[in-house]
Symmetry: C2
């Protein structure tokens, strides 16, 4: 079990990670940093924890400081993973914006540390520190543009291209998450992902053999 000292050390590290991230967008005064700390938004969750279930109402938005969470649907008894969020990625679930029961589940793929905040907190802190509203606007605009490109990429590429693209832009994810979740995230069946991986491995092996032969020549 973690000791009090461990917890307070962890909290300090997490605060610094968050402040470092924010400083890329806006500079914070000590007053503004203290206002964030006073919100008491740091939360630790064990791997497998359900943060939100289909049909639940929630006001909580998440920002990942450490670990990985995923969103998934249960369709005809099967889980369909639609997104993963890792370090420095945030998610405000649709049900928070829509004020309606959630369409999907959110759970922790790993032991995870998050900031958990709700719109009531935002209203309060935005009125005191308008800079935080600027920060949230910029982050939302960035996320929106990035998600749009991800969506376009998904629509315009084959499963193999999607997987190769993922290997290039989020290589850590391929290692961190279970293969059946990754397959459904890529919109393919687990056995198709296995075949895809085998084919790519074979290709890379023959490339290496070719390079070795060329070097020998």
């Amino acid at each position: 079990m973690a000791s009090v000292t461990d917890d307070s050390n962890n909290n300090k590290i997490m605060k610094n990670i968050l402040f470092d991230f924010i400083s890329k967008y806006v500079s914070l005064t000590d007053d503004e940093k203290n206002a964030i700390v006073s919100l008491d938004i740091f939360r630790s969750f064990k791997k497998g924890t359900a943060l939100l279930k289909e049909g639940q109402n929630s006001k909580d938005g998440y920002f990942v400081l450490k670990g990985c969470i995923r969103t998934y649907y249960v369709i005809d008894g099967d889980e369909k993973t639609t997104a993963f969020y890792t370090e420095m990625e945030g998610l405000t679930p649709h049900c928070v914006i829509n004020k309606a029961p959630s369409e999907y589940f959110i759970s922790c793929v790993e032991d995870t540390i998050l900031t958990v905040a709700n719109p009531d907190m935002e209203v309060e802190i935005f009125s005191k520190f308008p800079k935080f509203e600027t920060l949230c606007r910029i982050l939302s605009e960035e996320l929106l543009a990035k998600q749009q490109i991800d969506f376009d990429e998904f629509k315009t590429s084959s499963p193999e291209q999607r997987y190769l693209n993922l290997l290039q832009i989020r290589p850590d994810l391929v290692q961190r998450v279970p293969q059946h979740q990754l397959a459904s995230y890529l919109g393919i069946k687990p056995q198709s992902l296995s075949r895809l991986r085998a084919r790519i491995f074979e290709k890379s092996k023959s490339k290496v053999s070719f390079l070795n032969l060329s070097e020998r020549d």
Copy 2:
């Protein structure tokens, strides 16, 4: 050709459409309304106009007051339509956020009236009227959550389900845009969309016959 009176009438109508839309989120004073008008952001475009080309840099974000625009990629010589934006929908292209050449094209599917604004205008108007920053934050958060659900829906459904869903949530779109653009937007081949439409039409016909028979019984 439109006369000056027509233009000024049109401008008045467009302003009111925009103010009505904004009033759902924040209430505007006359000063704030005048500030928007003074930005001179209303623009009319003919059907087919290219607003942005792949490889171009741009600072322009769009909000559709009337008409329809689409984003598309050209891949191996083929156009792949990824999104349509109609009345009261906005788009800040990735290249504006990313400050890099655009990955895609934007063009007008119909004669279209847009607001065209750039980040420099935003900085100026946000400093004078912080309410506009609140508006942009709320809109971005809403769009982000909506786009996330659209992406999830695309990943978790079959082409037939996607088409049926589109018929339900955006029936106007199915009538307004060319079928080959609609097919690529749904991630299917034009001939598959034709077959799909025929199948759905047959199903609905047999449902009607069945209902007629039942009524006769």
